[in-house]
């Protein structure tokens, strides 16, 4: 697949979806990589005690995975010059081998005068959106 360029894309283009499995092991791996050791991301007892439905994924893990929709499309992570999200719902990750699946999508929502392209990103877990106002600005040639 060739890289997208300003001359090959249009507003409304859908990016290929990326479905990602989240298991407890993925949460532990992200905790170690990021240094975010918040106990609610790996300890069921504590998560329940603070009123959560169970262990939840780091919002920042969801945010990181969501961007793969964009960087697999651009085939270049350095094309991303701005990226923002709002966290609206937790992704609850059960203690089993399968974990849960979050499905990420993207759509070209604007092509700007300065050559940057805005991509709106969606994230769906158990048929509900978990990120709002989520978009990346990418620079294409």
């Amino acid at each position: 697949m060739s890289r997208p360029t300003l001359s090959t894309i249009a507003v409304g283009d859908q990016l290929p979806e990326v479905a990602v499995q989240f298991t407890r092991a993925d949460l532990v791996r992200y905790a170690g990589a990021s240094g975010d050791l918040n106990i609610i991301h790996w300890n069921e007892r504590t998560a329940l005690a603070v009123g959560l439905p169970g262990v939840i994924a780091h919002g920042m893990l969801t945010m990181g995975q969501a961007l793969n929709v964009v960087t697999r499309w651009t085939q270049d992570p350095t094309a991303v010059v701005d990226y923002q999200v709002r966290f609206t719902r937790p992704v609850v990750v059960p203690d089993n081998d399968e974990g849960v699946t979050v499905t990420f999508g993207g759509k070209v929502s604007a092509i700007n005068e300065d050559g940057t392209v805005k991509v709106d990103i969606s994230a769906v877990f158990e048929e509900k959106t978990v990120l709002a106002r989520s978009s990346a600005l990418v620079r294409l040639s």
């Binding site: 992200y30 920042m60 960087t71 992570p77 350095t78 701005d82 990226y83």
Partner: protein, 149 residues
């Protein structure tokens, strides 16, 4: 307890710089599923014009989250971390972060407001390189659930 808006504008320069490590870049990219060779393969990154592997977009949170957490839970600001949830997050880049970069982090409280009994605080961390040039900005908005919530 509501946060005091008088803290808006308060800033803080970390006393230690952050040296971006090649293995940390790779480890973080693996953890968020970023498979681009630019984040893992030194030769591929160099072929694209970078000195070393390139950090994935959300990597700066590994630098800033602890700094921001320490800053806003300091008694002078007074955020109760046990009540905090992550509200919004944004990254803006002037150039990619590359392994070997030695970054200075300056953190400022941009906004404090109360919404429906919850405290919301927005903090911006500015990352600059050894030459003093701006590299990236990281905005983190945290919401602390109020007692009544």
């Amino acid at each position: 307890m509501a946060l005091d808006p008088a803290n808006i504008g308060k800033s803080f320069v970390s006393d230690q710089t952050y040296l971006v490590g090649r293995e940390k870049v790779r480890e973080f990219a693996r953890a968020v599923g970023e498979i681009s060779p630019l984040c893992h393969d030194v030769a591929a990154a160099q072929a694209a014009g970078y000195a070393d592997v390139v950090a994935s977009t959300t990597f700066p949170i590994a630098i800033t989250l602890e700094i921001v957490g320490d800053f806003v839970t300091d008694p002078a600001v007074g955020l109760d971390w046990s009540r905090v949830v992550h509200g919004d997050q944004r990254f803006a880049y002037q150039r990619p972060i590359v392994a070997g970069d030695e970054l200075t982090v300056t953190t400022v409280i941009e906004d404090i407001k109360a919404i429906a009994g919850n405290d919301m605080i927005t903090v911006r961390s500015d990352l600059s390189d050894a030459a003093g040039a701006a590299v990236a900005q990281v905005w983190t908005s945290l919401v602390a659930r109020g007692d009544a919530a």
